[in-house]
């Protein structure tokens, strides 16, 4: 190596270091003996040569100071972006009404006030793997698992529904003919279903393999049945009503006992005392929670009150008992969740009593529902958060699973964007909003907010027809097509832009097979539309001018009806990848219209996927935070993916608790993968070494006072930004522009009804 080059470079570097006034202890002082410099340079050049692209190094080595900076950025930095920081997506998740935990499959079903039902896989990092869109007239009041893994719900429209967890639709709805249904409970054996109705009737249904069959009515009560619970032996049930609890004999259907609940609340007699929840224990104890803030223990054999705990000033709205019956959990309208445990009166004594052990305040509003998994307390309510609080004494390994989880946002994409026209399409339950992003001419340095030359515009508010919620929506990259789907209808609109005016025209006469789409995707050139229907079929539609033509349908593998939830298309339009909830990812050749290959199945569901331009590598993110890169042309995992799997991800990367919901690529930087979850945005630079567990994964401070050497040495493939959160969507609009859609929690809370007021001063 010629010494002159080394000296020039180091001289420049030294000057810059002095200017920056930063000094690293492991570097020579500002005026070192000249002899040390070439050696230092060699060391530095060697250490980076592995990762540094050849061109950048050649340019940087001999260049002047300014050019050197440019080259360097190409090496270590990811460049600057202008970020459109969007907070006008006025999305408010609806409140949680019911949760039901299935021990067999370790899944949790959650129903919301708008009728949406979601299924979370607790084994797969709490991923929301399935969802059933809501319906305006279907307010779910009860949700339960029966007969193993069949999911039922009942609501105020008086119907009992069963969900098809494979095809992701509603199998059937049966009217119970008792008015609005307030409560439902599956028998311990799982073969019978009990519903409590507005008219005071308790109805027993027999679950048959493909439907449910009404069997008989129990003795009619005088007011609505708000809560139901089976005795574990299946011989008796407890039913909570207004002002009293009834115990029924299942065989005869007659009420054995009627236990009157005290209306007194803090010394004041209330008008009514609503029994919000009951739980029947195997020793015959009935636990009730009511609107007077009491948790009461009753002896069902004698019908007497055994013990009463006053735990809240407001209603206690929900109760759930552990399977071992050694602990239960109740939720109050004040947002508090109380844990009760059966503990020995004294140590070593066999006599046990229920003791209120732990209060948790993770909610601001009513806790409408609780569930008790073997290792965690699960609660949800009006404040829309689903909270999973592990019981530390039940958790065997103190790993990241033992941490509290608070799930607020859906694990699917609600936003799509048109890169060409800089449009954002927001999906709400019953309408779509189209926004045009603003612009600026200014430039700035990291962290600056630039003055806007044009603000964002709200272009369109598209309301759906009918009571059904929107399942999915998409805007084409060119911005001239919008498609969305509800359970029963598929809508496609053509947009025309004339200066500032937009005209919208619905494409009529949709073919009958395009009825219910789970996912919609446009090709990069907006000429093709891909639709994943709930029957597992994938439709390809050709769009031209204002019309469309059905090109092809990929039928699902024979024998499977699994719905495809995620789609990805390559930028050249040749490849289409589709993923279901559990089976592997299928890759189709669009040109030849045949299945190209199937990516080897993985244990955890896919949360996001995308196909890289040029290379046609399929990048797949799974709910366990693993990211794979699969070469579609080669039908195998890429070398980079194998290296990543061999070395493993950084432990902090694996400990993130929200799934990656979107993946995109930089058109000019093929080595970069852009992805994000709710709390971070990351660019993976495949050319840089992977971080090991000792390196710092995320450094929130720009490395201003670090020299090149340190920066190069610590540089690794994951460039993370946590500025934007909660981040619902992030995509690259063009080479230097990003769009980030945030939804601050405070804004959501501001739109919720006010919580129960608690006194702040005095007691």
């Amino acid at each position: 190596m010629p010494p002159a080059r080394g000296l020039t470079c180091n001289g420049g570097r030294r000057a810059r270091r002095r200017a920056a006034n930063g000094r690293q202890p492991n570097l020579p002082p500002p005026s070192p003996p000249p002899r040390a410099l070439p050696a230092h340079f060699r060391l530095c050049a060697r250490s980076t040569s592995g990762a540094e692209p050849e061109s950048a190094r050649a340019r940087g080595a001999g260049a002047e100071r300014g050019e050197r900076r440019e080259g360097e950025r190409a090496v270590t930095g990811m460049g600057e972006f202008k970020v459109h920081r969007v907070r006008f997506f006025n999305y408010v998740p609806s409140g949680i009404r019911c949760v039901a935990y299935n021990n067999q499959s370790n899944r949790l079903a959650v129903s919301r006030t708008d009728g949406t039902v979601e299924v979370y896989n607790l084994s797969a990092n709490y991923f929301q793997e399935k969802f059933f869109p809501g319906h305006e007239s279907r307010a779910t009041e009860a949700l339960c698992w029966a007969e193993g893994q069949r999911l039922f719900s009942a609501g105020l429209n008086g119907e009992i529904m069963e969900y098809d967890l494979q095809a992701l639709n509603i199998k059937y709805a049966v009217d119970a003919f008792g008015g609005p249904i307030w409560s439902m409970a599956a028998s311990p054996s799982g073969s019978q279903l009990l519903v409590g109705c507005e008219d005071g009737s308790v109805k027993l249904f027999q679950i048959t393999p493909d439907k449910i069959q009404f069997e008989r009515n129990f003795d009619r009560q005088k007011s609505r049945i708000l809560s139901l619970s089976w005795h574990p032996s299946g011989t008796h049930i407890a039913a909570g009503s207004i002002d009293y609890i009834s115990v029924f004999d299942v065989k005869s259907g007659s009420a054995v006992h009627k236990m009157i609940v005290d209306r007194q609340h803090m010394g004041v007699s209330k008008r009514k005392c609503i029994v919000w929840g009951v739980a029947f224990l195997s020793d015959g104890t009935v636990i009730s929670v009511d609107s007077a803030g009491k948790v009461q223990f009753w002896d069902s054999a004698t019908g007497t009150l055994v013990k009463s705990h006053l735990i809240a000033n407001a209603d206690v709205q929900s109760i759930a008992v552990a399977e071992q019956e050694d602990s239960f959990v109740v939720g109050t309208a004040e947002g508090t969740v109380f844990h009760f445990q059966l503990v020995p009166v004294t140590s070593n004594s066999s006599e046990k009593q229920w003791v209120r052990t732990k209060p948790f305040q993770h909610h601001t509003h009513d806790v409408r529902t609780v569930a008790h998994s073997p290792t965690a307390l699960i609660s949800g309510g009006t404040d829309t958060h689903l909270v999973i609080r592990p019981l530390m004494e039940k958790v065997e390994v103190k790993n990241y699973d033992a941490a509290l989880r608070k799930i607020t946002f859906p694990h699917r994409r609600l936003i799509s964007c048109s890169k060409k026209r800089q449009l954002l399409l927001f999906q709400f339950a019953h309408h779509l909003e189209l926004w045009r992003l603003g612009s600026t001419v200014a430039t700035g340095k990291n962290g600056d907010t630039l003055p806007l030359s044009k603000n964002a515009d709200h272009l369109l508010h598209l309301k759906t027809k009918g009571p059904e919620n929107i399942i999915c929506s998409c805007i084409s990259p060119c911005g001239s097509w919008i498609a969305y789907s509800t359970v029963s209808r598929f809508f496609l609109y053509r947009l025309n832009y004339e200066h500032d005016n937009i005209s919208l025209k619905r494409v009529s006469k949709m073919p009958p097979f395009l009825r219910c789409a789970l996912q919609i995707l446009f090709s990069e050139d907006s000429t093709k539309l891909f639709v994943a229907s709930n029957q597992g079929a994938l439709h390809i539609v050709q769009l031209s001018g204002g019309s469309f033509k059905h090109l092809h349908v990929f039928q699902p593998q024979s024998g499977t009806v699994e719905a495809m939830c995620l789609l990805a298309v390559s930028s050249d339009g040749n490849w289409l990848a589709a993923s279901g909830t559990s089976a592997g990812v299928h890759v189709y050749n669009v040109k030849q219209l045949k299945l190209h290959c199937t990516v080897p199945a993985y244990n955890f569901p896919v949360t996001a996927m995308a196909i890289a331009p040029n290379t046609n590598n399929l990048v797949i993110a799974h709910s366990d935070q693993q990211v794979f890169e699969y070469s579609i042309p080669d039908k195998q995992y890429t070398d980079w993916s194998r290296t990543v799997q061999k070395q493993g991800f950084h432990h902090l990367w694996l400990q993130r608790d929200t799934p990656i919901t979107h993946i995109s690529f930089h058109p000019k930087r093929p080595m970069h993968i852009l992805l994000h979850d709710a709390y971070m945005f990351c660019i993976i630079d495949k050319s840089l070494p992977l971080p090991n567990d000792k390196t710092l994964l995320y450094n929130p401070f720009p490395p201003t006072n670090e020299s090149d050497v340190v920066r190069r040495r610590t540089a690794h493939a994951f460039k993370i930004s946590k500025i934007y959160k909660p981040l619902l969507f992030m995509d690259l609009l063009d080479e230097g522009t990003l769009v980030a859609v945030e939804r601050p929690l405070d804004d959501i809370i501001a739109q919720l009804p006010p919580p129960i007021k608690k006194k702040k001063f005095g007691t």
């Binding site: 990811m78 600057e80 972006f81 202008k82 006008f88 430039t443 600056d448 450094n699 005095g762």
Partner: protein, 718 residues
Amino acid sequence: MAALEEEFTLSSVVLSAGPEGLLGVEQSDKTDQFLVTDSGRTVILYKVSDQKPLGSWSVKQGQIITCPAVCNFQTREYIVVHDNKVLRIWNNEDVNLDKVFKATLSAEVYRILSVQGTEPLVLFKEGAVRGLEALLADPQQKIETVISDEEVIKWTKFFIVFRHPVLIFITEKHGNYFAYVQMFNSRILTKYTLLLGQDENSVTESFTASVDRKFISLMSLSSDGCIYETLIPIRPTDPEKNQSLVRSLLLKAVVSGNTRNGVALTALDQDHVAVLGSPQAASKECLSVWNIKFQTLQTSKELPQGTSGQLWYYGENLFMLHGKSLTVIPYKCEVSSLAGALGKLKHGQDPGTHVMPRFVNWETPQGCGLGFQNSEQSRRILRRRKIEVSLQPEVPPSKQLLSTIMEDSEKHIEVEVRKFLALKQTPDFHTVIGDTVTGLLERCKAEPSFYPRNCLMQLIQTHVLSYSLCPDLMEIALIKKDVQLLQLCLQQFPDIPEAVTCACLKIFLSIGDDSLQETDVSMESVFDYSNSVHDEKMEEQTEILQNGFNPEEDKCSNCDQELNKKPQDETKESTSCPVIPKRAALLNAILHSAYSETFLLPHLKDIPAQHITLFLKYLYFLYLKCSENATMTLPGIHPPTLNQIMDWICLLLDANFTVVVMMPEAKRLLINLYKLVKSQISVYSELNKIEVSFRELQKLNQEKNNRGLYSIEVLELF
């Protein structure tokens, strides 16, 4: 916990045990080796860990061993007596007992006694005692008769107490028992009559003894199945007089009263005894270990083949004749700790690691029990070559301290305590401090004039004491009205019961100002309230602001009338401290102490009403002082907090309201308190009213910070 381990049989060879069993099992000079003498002609040396005999010696046919073989630890030789009078001394190399040293004595030997660290003693059947050396110098010397006719020696034991050999033997004559204690050095023989108490019919079956400081604790297992304890003083007060000793019941019904076989008792250590016998009349024989301190059965083992009713205990092994063979049961008494008992401490510590004892060992006594010390000093000295050996191992300072406490003057004790505290953390520091305090307090109780105050103060300040460790301490301090010590206790002890706290409070309130002035209480928590400059300022403020409390506020119309009569007086009352600073310091100590409301309330009712009023006045004064500044704290280093003050006001009123409300002098105070509460309520209600406005302000503030709904920012990723 004490535990018996798996038993093992020492030899498959059936010993020629007679109907009386073995003659004896005695220790040899090596820890693991024991001399077993059967009732016939044989002495066998066993190595217990190997479970095999190392040597066996027999006397000639026709001769019979009459006294178990023992080891002379000083010379490592063995001594045995056959045919009552013939003494044989040999060592390991000798093969034939006929050819070893022989001395024929002039009187019949009852037993030869040998313990580590001193020469063996020979006890003759007539009660005389001789040292072996002296005896061998003239074997045919005349042996005197000590005990009367028909008096038979039943049992004997040899101790070393404070480096002096002490021999005790029990004789029996017509159902009466006598104990003889022979101080070997001083040659004093003391005779005691053992009184059996009410139950005259019982026959004492077995004896064992241990040394406890000044006493020999003689335990006897009676035929009624109970264990009795008799304390025999080592240093007799009057050796000439025949003294009687009364036994006390230690453990009841340990074994069944009417056993066919003999029963045996052996003290294992200070707190544990091993008992051999059948627990019930019909059941099989059992070996059981009892804790006499807690009166609990620690462990037991059934011995179905029957025993000879003999039990020996050496080192960690219990020896007995089980069936026809000699059985060894290793016995372990591990350190028991509360944590261990509750199951939090893992048992079975790694033997390689040495663990510092963190817990007080309940089982092994710390300061006494010399009789059990089995110091294995291997000394290679032959019998004839006597070497002057220092028999005085260095006494640890802790023991020295304890002995000092027992008899020395206050001054001296203080010096010793200071010396010991200067040494600081020895591993048994906690234990010694505890023992010292207990010792001091015992002496305090015994001698009313003895009150080593400075000593106690020093010990309290070591921070290792707590109330439960020495409950007597505060009791004595309360009797002596030593407020300084009480204050110190209140500050240092974490676990004072509410009753005692209350008793302290009573004394603090009732003690006269004059006597208080003389004391030297810590004034740390008291700020000089009589600061005049501050006083002025405060007087202004009371009118305006006391956290919303304004005494002039005209809301309580009928009571105000009375108040307005003496407005001057009232301000005075609220501004000057109602108690002298020293009393204030003491009361502050009470305020700082921990308590539980439920337990404190009943005791508070016992305090006289005028004292209650005084205390309330003081608390009210403190409250006013508190409300003077914005932070609601009192000046000073460690002042009572507002919460403590308020809690105590509530407690006092709860406990004594009916009394206080009747007292005319408390009326104004109560009115003030009432108004205070009323004003607080109104302040809070006002706060609640404007809370909404606060929230709106907060919202406005948030909005200001909000970045708006849309912006374009620059992001650089590194």
